[in-house]
Symmetry: C2
Subunit: 411 residues, 2 copies
Amino acid sequence: MAAGTPGAGRVAQAEMRSANMGLLLRHLRAHGGRSRARLAQETGLSKATTSSLVTDLAQRGLVREGALERGGAVGRPGTTVALDGSGVAGIGIELAVDYASFTAVTLAGTVVREQVSPLDVAHLPLAEVLDRTATQLQRMIHSLAESGTRVAGITVSPPGIIDYASGSLRFAPNLGWRDVALVREYATRLSEPTPPIRLENDAKLAALAESVRFAREGVSDLVYLTGDVGVGAGIIADGALMRGWAGFSGEVGHLHLAPDDRPCNCGRTGCWETVVGLNALLESAAPAGDSLRDPGRPIEDRLYELRRRADAGDAPTLAALTAIAEHLAEGLAVLVDVLNPKAIVLGGYFAWFGAFIIPVAETRLQARALDAGNHARVVASELGLMAAARGGAFLALEDVFADPTLVPAGA
Amino acid sequence: MAAGTPGAGRVAQAEMRSANMGLLLRHLRAHGGRSRARLAQETGLSKATTSSLVTDLAQRGLVREGALERGGAVGRPGTTVALDGSGVAGIGIELAVDYASFTAVTLAGTVVREQVSPLDVAHLPLAEVLDRTATQLQRMIHSLAESGTRVAGITVSPPGIIDYASGSLRFAPNLGWRDVALVREYATRLSEPTPPIRLENDAKLAALAESVRFAREGVSDLVYLTGDVGVGAGIIADGALMRGWAGFSGEVGHLHLAPDDRPCNCGRTGCWETVVGLNALLESAAPAGDSLRDPGRPIEDRLYELRRRADAGDAPTLAALTAIAEHLAEGLAVLVDVLNPKAIVLGGYFAWFGAFIIPVAETRLQARALDAGNHARVVASELGLMAAARGGAFLALEDVFADPTLVPAGA
DNA sequence: CTTAATTAGTTAGGATGCTGTACGAACAAT
DNA sequence: ATTGTTCGTACAGCATCCTAACTAATTAAG
């Protein structure tokens, strides 16, 4: 229920039809396959119009007929109409410090391609990173085309600050990159016709990925929290991704919620990251000299090791996780009071240690956040490393859900 | 630029027309009166359609023709079309602890009625408060009808927690009211036909009121902060009022941002309110025994007195205001990092002492909030006590801006 | 002062999309 | 086999918007 009536844009006949086609598509996404008659009744469109629109959508390869609905009820059974999982897909790419992940998701929400490639993004020359990832991308597009799947769009999630207007990465502190026109760079490296390319922040994309899952449960207000060395939030408010004025909403890692004796990389002290970031966990869980604090050792190894210790009931590890959870709750309380989400989804290493962190964080949160009888549920993300890429694929598909006529009929 | 494609609803012929009429109306609100030709060009509608829609809007009394646009340019001058300030108005009511304020605002944004009535809401019986305010309301509706102005809707802002689904006040701590079905109570007390009645939180309404002003400057992301004994925020994100899952977004008064030696009325310690609420100012600005701390003295008197001292350069007063500003900045930094607004509008006593508070708060904020080269502007609200009522009137008018056909043509 | 050029607004005709009604199709119940 | 119900489609009708042509009002130029 949004107020303020933000500009809805002109409505002409053509837009009317595409808007209604989008309505059907989104209804199918949210509620699953169903008969034309039910679609008509539930969306408010007439049966005749629904029929016509479904035919149109089918010609574009976006929906297809399924089994007959033999519900045992009287009357003629309806033929199920469902999203077609082969016609169109979106691609999401996440560039991290030491790997690049690629995902392709169809309109039906099925992941049809997924790969994580180790890539020393931080040390390789920029051009080489772009060349290599663009090649992988091109290969994925070709491979999808061979299966008869069009790519509706591509979303790239770089590890840094994005300038949305120019489609460039303004600054990536961990890579040392500055003002890289990523959209243009990829567009020139891909063969024509190039699908639309976007940039978006990893936390926002992960939130979007989760929002698709939660929308089915009727949750349209949620917060996703990334858990890594840094911490960031993605906010879904009233079903839509919230970006803020310049796209910097959810920059919660440097909230001033910790004691001022903790210096932060940002130059200030007392940032939330310093007590809930991954380094805080590693430092408090392991004594100096412990191999967990060896920067040369792969981070995944260390996390596995830490989980083994936690599972085994190792006291210092459990104490460290509890401390993290308590500090985490402080920030979650802020997010709950400000945003009133229905769910908080924890990602990154928070999810990895969810069983240890969430119970503590949740009780602590309920004690601290304003209780209006509406607690936010805290859950662990199940998307793991692929969350951002997955969300990127979803974002790329949003265009199609908004205007299905973007996909030509001849497919 | 919203993503996530929240359900846009069915588009039928009738809705197409009303949607386009709303588009014109909102364009006129945002950009002021202009010719049909300019409207057509700027909205993307054709000249013919624009002409037809404008005629329709005029018949409903929503727009009217104005002067000729003699811009000195060649060609036939256009006749200005502008929002009609006499046809339709919205009414907002704020129930506070010791007064009730009423505002009527026309479609053109002009305040045509405004009254603040002292009313001992906290001690009078509920029925009497409702009777008296309903009578005033009815009188205002009549008076507007005599001037030929229809009331499109009424928004009531009660000082407590709202249950939107049932249209009732769930709990008002300062009044001791519980579960009062305000919408129904007012509806039964008003003579037919009753305009639609809504409830909304004061901070959210104030934010909405400010958003109308700021929208003209292209600001679609802002936060309004109420400054009273309690503190609350209203959030406008991407032009729309953000409510959160259950309508409790912006409950920032109890953020844990103060030292834990400050007990709060809510039973916890360290709430932001305890260091930026009005009581914090009065206590730190005046020594025990000072008349400023006399609860029997009207609060307005005390605020005037305090401002006199500040204007005169009284050191303890200035020190107290600076301390408030510094604590204020802590919370503003939270709001900036989470929401990335373009503007923060300070209301209540923050605005009253804006000249002393804002410069300090702003520099402090810039030091603390994440700097992505996009500072949020901090400004004082100019709406004073009427902010919430004004926003309520705007909210009531939103229906008309969304669907102008709600207003019958025969008016 | 007259004519051309330019822009505003209106009217007529055409195209498009949605709706209501009617009808055949497919099934359950009797 | 018949009846009643529901699904999906076909067709006529209607509302809307758009394009194109036209009139109206003004400036600029000869």
